[in-house]
Amino acid sequence: MSTRTEKERTTLLQGTLDLLILRTLLFGPQHGQGIARAIQQQSEDVLLVDHGSLYPALQRLETQGWIAARWGTSANNRKARFYALTKAGRKQLMAETGQWRRLVAAIARILGPEGADG
């Protein structure tokens, strides 16, 4: 089935995308499109958010109780669903950020200084 490859990609992205969403919401409530846009801009267009993953991820985070959502009005007067970080979400963000940093540091140590293998 074709959904399987899609699902595997989802799992692959899951950890990081969740982290990035939580991070983005640290600056205040935002709607889905805004979150995608922010990630894309802040990563200087390196990270392109697959919207097919974004909404299920939002759904998942909401189910976990890390973010909360309600309908509101956007800057240009459109009705949109805004997501905000909860207390639990803030804690989760801290934990995941720490974990991520450790992982990256460890991998960096193994890979050696930048350009060493080049």
Partner: protein, 882 residues
């Protein structure tokens, strides 16, 4: 789960969010200078497949758990496919376990839960009378309608009791049917016409009996069974109104019962009206009627029992001579045979449960081992946020899948098992067991099987899940999989030890059963059933007057049979020893000894035997002389007693020369001199003690219905036609029924015991095999896990022998622990079986020892291959690999 549901969003809400996203995106693009149409299309393009996202929302939000279940199922299927041999073994052992339980339950269901198909079965109550004396020689038999009632007491209860909608009485009556074909003996009952109404059973053809047909002169009508109608009446639809000659008297067939009608059990084929003579109606001393009733609406069994107790007290006052100490016993019809079936059912259901538990332990161990070989994967998943519950659920899903596969196979196993069990017990025995012919796999049995499978899944998945939950996951990661080995070992060892303990209990149980069976066979060898042919005979009273003519005919017939070439001796006996049928029994009076009341007289079986009986059966004479040709009709009345009767009635004295009489001292029969004492003959295999038997000369006390025993020199069965011819030469209208060798009689009677032995042996064997696999599995796994340690030991100079001892020692240690746990349980089971199976089997230290030895040997054998593998390790290669 509830939380998730409450947070559920509607599809519309989600659609609105996507729509808003598209608008926002389009707004942005427009702001960057794109045209209206272009912006919308680009936004949609950037978003991707809207439907796919919506679908994903659906999965994620609405049925999150189904989605996860799907993942679990797929993953479980992958795992199971990866090791097809192991999976097959697991499924097979579960199928055996579930199948055995299902097969046994189908018996429990048919025999105990709904032995009869009558509406509102629980309102049907059998009533019987008990008095203190009766317990002495009473035995339970599947055919026994409980203790019967005296006709006068029955009539009083029927007239006065308010607890019953109605009561009906039954009295056994055998019929000889003469007509086209061979004469045939039919089991029948004289019944109160109300019986059919109380049972709510109607005739399939014609009608049942009418109330006024219980009057003298109007009672020559019969209702016949479906089987008889098919077999002897050609299944003719116009059978109603036809004449049928029974016991030399014409009867009219008024109805045919439907095929499933099975009351009372015992292959009854004729129901005729019971009419009571004036003498009968006044009879209070002789208990001759079986009674069944239906509780009146709203009356409970307890109320009926209270009512009957009041009646008993009143009758005791009115008729102290006969009714002192007499009580009524009311039992639900459904539970009537439970005394016999319940111990067997408990035994087998228990054994089947043990096998299932062992199978569960095996499969659980397997899953755990498999789970642990993936422990790094699991630890990683746990580190990435998978909860332990999620991992446990994965294992549970695997076990669920295994049990459901097992369930499918189990239904086949159960169907085959039910068929095998059913066909291994002869119809002559099973006709006494109500519900036997309706044993099948129906909805309730299927429901039971599914419940067992689910419980199995839980039991199988739970132990590895708990085992996995105990793992300290960080340790696993840090120590490369070796860290949790202590926990794992303890857990798996526990599983294997309990497995072996269960196998021990089962094997000791089956060993007991087999030895008990063997001992029973030996007991019957006492009168040497080999080479004896038996058949049953009934002289119609219309042509043979009771008394002298009957005795003369039997004597002539035995002479004729003895003259047949190949016959060593021929004898007649009132009832066949070893058979399951009822033996007439009654009180015995001793001249010169007075007893306070009628009911305190000793009780004995009455057996009329012809001169050659003891010789034909090789029953040993203990004292005096056997009954012989000299005990003719004109000779002084004589009797022989069994050894245990002599011991009971004349403890410390001698029986020889004593005067005894059947019944009460003032009964009309003659006083008889005891001329001999013979060794005990086992009448029923389930008798706890030898019965008292009073042997009477057949010529002095002839019985119209007798068994004829012929000892032959060669092949017994081959002589049957010659014997038939010899009887036909004297009277061609006499039927020879139940022509069998005595060994066959005994075999048939013990069919249920043999079946039990075989079944338990089979279950025990399966249990042993499964636990051997369990031990092998843990030892093999152990060796793999300890490869490095063993390598180090070898490198440090341990010899191959020491390594072998190390591994085998562990296997034996597990077995020893299992013995320690299992032996007390096995002994307890033995005691339980001894009481359930009428003392036929006894727990024995020797069989426990034998089984224990077998278990240790099995453990040794199962540990051998891993031990050899460990000893053959190359330490250099092992250490380099690390």
């Amino acid at each position: 789960m509830m939380m998730r549901w409450r947070r559920k969003r509607t599809q519309g809400d989600f659609d609105a969010e996507i729509e808003s996203h598209l608008q926002l995106e389009a707004d942005r693009l427009r702001a960057e200078g794109a045209g209206e149409e272009e912006a919308r299309a680009a936004a949609r393009r950037a978003f991707g497949n809207v439907t796919a996202v919506e679908e994903r929302f659906y999965e994620a939000a609405r049925v999150l758990w189904v989605d996860r279940l799907g993942q679990d199922l797929r993953s479980a299927a992958r795992t199971l496919r990866r090791g097809p041999a192991v999976t097959a073994a697991a499924v097979l052992s579960l199928a055996l376990g579930i199948g055995a339980n299902t097969a046994i339950f189908s018996f429990v269901n048919a025999l105990m839960l709904r032995p009869y198909s009558f509406p509102d079965l629980d309102a049907l109550i059998t009533v019987s009378e008990l008095h203190p004396q009766q317990g002495k020689q009473a035995t339970v038999r599947p055919s026994d309608p409980g203790h019967p009632m005296a006709p006068a007491d029955f009539l009083d209860v029927r007239r006065e009791s308010r607890s019953f909608e109605g009561l009906a009485a039954l009295r056994p009556r055998d019929y000889t049917l003469v007509g086209e074909g061979e004469p045939e003996r039919l089991a029948g009952r004289l019944v109160s016409p109300e019986l059919f109404g109380l049972l709510r059973a109607d005739a399939a053809l014609g009608r049942t009996l009418l109330p006024d047909e219980a009057d003298a002169g109007r009672d020559a009508v019969v209702v016949v069974s479906h089987g008889l109608w098919q077999r002897r009446l050609g299944g003719a639809p116009d059978v109603v109104g036809r004449p049928l000659v029974l016991n030399g008297r014409p009867h009219t067939v008024v109805g045919v019962m439907p095929p499933g009608f099975n009351y009372p059990p015992g292959g009854v084929e004729v129901w005729a009206p019971l009419w009571l003579s004036e003498e009968d109606k006044a009879a209070r001393a002789v208990l001759s009627l079986a009674v069944i009733g239906r509780l009146a609406r709203g009356v409970t069994l307890e109320q009926a029992r209270d009512d009957l107790a009041t009646m008993a007290a009143r009758l005791e006052q009115a008729h102290p001579r006969t009714n002192t100490g007499r009580t009524f016993k009311a039992v639900r019809l459904r539970e009537q045979q439970a005394g016999i079936t319940a111990p067997f059912a408990a035994l087998f259901q228990g054994a089947a449960l043990f096998v299932l538990l062992i199978a569960c332990a095996n499969v659980g161990g397997l899953l755990l081992a498999r789970g642990l070989s993936r422990q790094r994967e699991m630890a990683l998943r746990a580190a990435l946020g998978a909860s332990r519950w999620r991992i446990a659920r994965q294992l549970l899903t695997e076990s669920l899948m295994l049990s459901l596969l097992g369930l499918l196979l189990a239904l086949g196993v159960a169907a085959a098992g039910v068929e095998a069990i059913r066909s291994s017990v002869p119809a002559d025995i099973t006709k006494w067991v109500a519900g036997w012919r309706d044993i099948r796999l129906d909805e309730s049995v299927l429901g039971f099987a599914v419940a067992v499978a689910l419980a199995t899944a839980l039991a199988t998945g739970l132990s590895p899940a708990l085992g996995a939950a105990r793992l300290a996951l960080t340790d696993v990661l840090r120590e490369g999989g070796r860290g949790a080995s202590a926990v794992r070992h303890r857990w798996r060892s526990m599983i294997v030890v309990s497995q072996m303990a269960l196998a021990l209990v089962l094997l000791v149980g089956s060993g007991l059963m087999v030895r008990g069976f063997g001992r029973m066979m030996e007991r019957y060898e006492g009168f040497d059933p080999a080479g004896v042919l038996s058949f049953r005979m009934r002289l119609p009273e219309s042509r043979y007057a009771p008394g002298r003519p009957m005795g003369d005919f039997y004597a002539r017939m035995l002479e004729g049979l003895a003259a047949v070439p190949g016959v060593e001796s021929a004898a007649a006996v009132g009832h066949l020893p070893g058979d399951m049928g009822p033996v007439p029994a009654g009180a015995v009076s001793i001249r010169g000894r007075t007893t306070p009341g009628d009911l305190d007289l000793p009780v004995a079986d009455y057996q009329s035997v012809s001169p050659d009986y003891f010789r034909a059966l090789r029953v040993r004479l203990v004292a005096g002389r056997a009954l012989g040709a000299q005990d003719g009709p004109d000779a002084p009345p004589a009797a022989v007693v069994s050894e245990s009767m002599a011991r009971r009635l004349w403890p410390g004295g001698t029986a020889l020369g004593q005067q005894v009489k059947q019944g009460r001292p003032d009964d009309p029969g003659p006083w008889r001199e005891v001329v001999g004492v013979v060794e005990d003959v086992t009448q029923y295999w389930f008798d706890r003690e030898p019965r008292s038997t009073l042997y009477l000369p057949h010529r002095q006390v002839p019985r119209a219905a007798s068994f004829v025993l012929v000892r032959v020199a060669g092949e017994a069965a081959a002589l049957a036609p010659a014997l038939r011819a010899a009887v036909a030469a004297l009277d061609p209208a006499l039927p020879l029924d139940e022509v069998r060798t005595l060994r066959q009689v005994v075999n048939d009677a013990m069919a249920i015991l043999r079946l039990s032995a075989n079944l338990l042996l089979l279950l025990g064997g399966v249990a042993l095999l499964l636990s051997a696999v369990g031990i092998y599995g843990i030892m093999a796994h152990d060796v793999v896990q300890r490869t490095q340690e063993i390598g180090v030991r070898l490198a440090l100079g341990a010899t191959a022998g020491e390594v072998r001892r190390l591994v085998l020692g562990r296997a034996l240690g597990l077995a020893a622990l299992a013995l320690l746990v299992g032996a007390p349980a096995a002994l307890a089971l033995g005691r339980l079986m001894a009481s359930a199976l009428f003392g036929v089997v006894r727990p024995e230290a020797s069989s426990l020892a034998a089984v224990s030895g077998g278990l240790l040997a099995t453990a040794l054998l199962a540990g051998l291959v891993p031990a050899l593998r460990a000893a053959a390790l190359d330490p250099v290669a092992v250490l380099r690999n690390e």
